[in-house]
Amino acid sequence: MRFAICSYGAGNTRSVQLAFERLGLRADVVDDGDEILAADLAVLPGVGSAGSAMAGLRQRGLDEALRERATAERPILGICLGLQLALDKTEEDGGVEGLGLVPGRAVRLQTTRVPRIGWAPLDGGGETYWYAHSFVAETPAATATSEGLTAIVEHGSFTGVQFHPEKSGPVGARFLAARCLFLA
């Protein structure tokens, strides 16, 4: 099985790669559209700001590769900013067009403390994962929330998580193992 982690200058790619390694899975960090298309699962990680992240994707032609994957219904996992980039647009950086893989937009958090940093359970008695974000997805494709905020998005072959499974200890590792083996 081939896992490809998109490298575009805005991702914590090493942390994601290490999380796969801990599961005994090899994941390649790639910045080439063909390799993204060829993988069984493409992972779009992301930390930082949306504007420079989208520019980084476009510059490498990864935006087209990811759209092509989505059209072909091949699995993609977006993490944190990677989820938000998959939306139609985000309010961040004065408004940025997203990849448009998932209907909806990212809006600035209205919580008392921003960024929202820390561990929080999924609503309805779900697992507790680690979050670090200032924007949040508003989308009809949300399938799980945490404190009322979009935590998991599922749309076609795209799955997005607002939390960081790669930094959520054994609970995060279980999520990655279950989702990635299922998706790929």
Partner: protein
């Protein structure tokens, strides 16, 4: 609000965890990876590694430690000490750290906070503020930074900091409790998450801090002993503080 966080702080010098009183009489207390992993297993929510060695090679050593920690620990960690530029910060983040902490370098050149936020994301930028009374101290609290604490906290937020790590120098090492008034005053002027530091002597002190701040940094109270963290979590739970369930 996410759950309150317990964050063990490990002082690192030349690639080893050290313990000492005010940077003197440093004693080797272990390997950062082993101790970090043990804290993670004992229920730490995040870790902070503070490189206190002042050698020219500190930056290379820091990247090496960050890389080894990332390979072996799957919870978030912050790296501080010796970070003076975007390149310094990027190197430890690319090695697998989640945040960098800056202190004297930001006081010397406040634009650094904005540069880090713009290039690496606001969530990755922690500004550590050492407070003595109303005044900010720099260079491991040895110098007056000629700034008021509240004014500096607000400026950090405006420049793009993602979190403030507030240490009361007056309380640090006294085990007489965190400076709750200081934490409350800072909390009221910024909307950033605040990590409380300095003065923890017992579980009640930590509980009091977590009712004001979003996280508590734990240093000497743990005695470099992960088992102490586990028992502290139980005590906090008994005091009504929601702690993260055992993984």
């Amino acid at each position: 609000m996410p759950l309150p966080r317990l964050i063990p702080c490990l002082d690192v010098a030349r690639g080893r965890v050290v313990k000492g009183v005010r940077f003197e009489q440093l004693r080797d207390v272990g390997d950062p990876v082993e101790l970090g992993a043990a804290y993670s297993d004992a229920g730490a929510d995040e870790l902070v590694f503070l490189d206190i060695s002042a050698t020219l090679n500190a930056q290379n050593a820091a990247v090496g430690v960050a890389a080894r920690v990332a390979e072996n620990v799957s919870i978030p960690f912050t790296f501080g000490g010796g970070i003076r530029s975007v390149d310094d910060a990027r190197a430890v983040l690319e090695a697998g750290a989640d945040k960098v902490s800056v202190n004297s370098a930001a006081l010397a050149r406040p634009q650094l906070v904005g540069e880090l936020a713009e290039r690496l994301g606001t969530q990755a930028v922690v500004v550590a503020i050492d407070a003595a009374g109303d005044r900010v101290r720099s260079h491991a609290a040895t110098r007056d930074a000629e700034r008021g604490v509240l004014e500096w906290a607000k400026e950090c937020e405006e420049r793009g900091a993602g979190e403030l790590l507030v240490t009361s120098i007056d309380r640090d090492g006294t085990q007489s409790g965190y400076d709750l008034e200081l934490l409350e005053r800072i909390r009221d002027v910024v909307s950033l998450p605040i990590v409380a530091s300095g003065g923890a002597g017992n579980a009640r002190h930590v509980a009091d801090a977590l009712r004001v701040a979003d996280a508590a940094l734990l240093a000497s109270i743990l005695h470099a002993d992960p088992a102490r963290l586990a028992s502290l979590r139980t005590e906090l739970s008994d005091l009504g503080i929601p702690v993260r369930g055992a993984a």
